[in-house]
């Protein structure tokens, strides 16, 4: 048997082969020719690409504007900006927002009776309280002593907040009463001369009772916005 080169065999048998197509094949060609081209023209592609580029550019511009235009400057100093809420009748605990300033206090050598004040409400002797640098409202108490005592009370309240101790009406009243007694003693001392300390204390106490309380509360309202005291 003769041997044939495979490639020659393939070229001979398959090279010129004809296979009749099915009937209706020309109709399929003419239909396919008549069908509109699925290709999108170049101009349309370019316009779509331009639209995308515009959208992306607008998005980038808006996002960069939001970053720079609306950025608030960092807060370097906490200033008491707003007055605290009106005193409500509900007994509420003091909100735990911390005071953002350092408070200095020059300790006074005051002898006080710790009768109504529990140990955890005692005034801290080395507490440092400095008055705020913000403007003082015109209706603040003129008496330096009252101001000082008010600030001490505020510091104590803040301390209680920091250590998560409850700050209730009773605690505040207790602190106010203690401060009143101390003010009364100071005034009694300044009047000079040996006097009946208790009688004088009682007289002075009564006199300053209401005014101190009001002044202290007014101070709290005006200067310590983070402390909201509910008093009856």
């Amino acid at each position: 048997m003769e041997k044939y080169n495979i490639e020659d065999l393939l070229a001979e048998k398959l090279g010129g082969r004809s296979i009749e197509p099915s009937t209706g094949s020309w109709e399929r060609v003419s239909f396919t020719k008549a069908r509109p081209s699925k290709k999108i023209p170049l101009a349309k592609w370019l316009s779509i690409a331009a639209m995308f580029a515009l959208l992306i550019g607008a998005g980038l511009y808006i996002s960069s504007y939001k970053e720079t235009g609306t950025k608030t400057p960092p807060v370097t100093k906490v200033v008491f900006i707003e007055k605290p809420d009106e005193i409500t009748t509900e007994s509420a605990k003091i909100s735990p927002a911390p005071l953002n300033r350092q408070i200095k206090f020059a300790p006074q050598s005051v002898a006080y009776k710790p009768s109504a004040v529990s140990e955890d409400t005692a005034l801290p002797s080395p507490a440092i309280i400095t008055p705020a640098a913000a403007q003082q409202p015109s209706d603040l108490p003129k008496d330096r002593l009252i101001l000082q005592k008010s600030e001490e009370i505020a510091a104590e309240l803040q301390r209680r907040i920091d250590v998560h101790l409850p700050v209730t009406d009773e605690v505040v009243d207790s602190l106010l009463q203690k401060a009143q007694r101390e003010i009364a003693l100071e005034r009694a001392k300044s009047n000079g001369g040996p006097t009946d300390a208790n009688a004088l204390l009682k007289e002075t106490e009564t006199e300053i009772n209401e005014t101190f309380r009001q002044d202290a509360i007014r101070l709290f309202k005006n200067r310590f916005r983070t402390i909201r005291i509910a008093l009856h």
Partner: protein, 186 residues
């Protein structure tokens, strides 16, 4: 009265077809459709898919008829379109996969099948992997060299050569098996 249809040259038909003459296009189609289907069938096992590729090829040919420069035969120009269409079809179905194999020294395989029917030979070709078959047909039937085959199939020349070697070897084995089963051992 006898009507004798004069043979119209391809050039005339093409020029008329460029002018969007449907009749000229139909005549061109009827003149070359059978051969082009034979070309597509060499690459694609299924006849229906082969016809689809052929129809798609004619559609592309008529759309780009203006680019035909009347250099070389119109049949050769059409064949190239059909071959590209068939390869694209096989790629789209991921039937063509080429693994990089070591280069094999090519030599002509000898077969003992002089009376082999074209259809039977096609059936044996269909048994080959699509990659082997494609390279073999491009080389043996269409007459492309390995560089052209590598460019068309996006493979290296060495891959083309090794695919051809394996295709020949496999086809030879099939032919010998067929001969042995038909005629008994020689």
């Amino acid at each position: 009265m006898k009507i004798i249809t004069l043979h119209v040259s391809d050039e005339k038909l093409i020029k008329q077809a460029i002018q969007k003459s449907g009749k000229a296009e139909e005549m061109l189609y009827k003149r070359y459709a059978a051969k082009m289907l034979g070309v597509c069938r060499c690459y694609i096992k299924d006849m229906h898919y082969a016809e689809d590729v052929m129809i798609e090829g004619f559609t592309k040919a008529f759309a780009s008829l203006g680019r035909y420069r009347f250099e070389g035969s119109f049949e050769g120009w059409l064949r190239r379109i059909m071959v590209r269409g068939a390869i694209d079809f096989l790629r789209s179905r991921r039937e063509i996969a080429f693994a990089e194999v070591e280069e094999a020294i090519g030599y002509a395989e000898q077969a003992t099948a002089p009376d082999m029917d074209a259809e039977l030979l096609q059936l044996l070709m269909d048994e080959l992997p699509a990659g082997y078959r494609t390279v073999l047909v491009l080389f043996a039937v269409e007459g492309y060299n390995h560089k052209e085959i590598a460019d068309m199939l996006n493979i290296t020349e060495s891959t083309s050569k090794s695919q051809l070697f394996k295709a020949r070897k496999t086809l030879r084995e099939q032919l010998e098996k067929l001969n042995n089963s038909s005629y008994g051992k020689v």
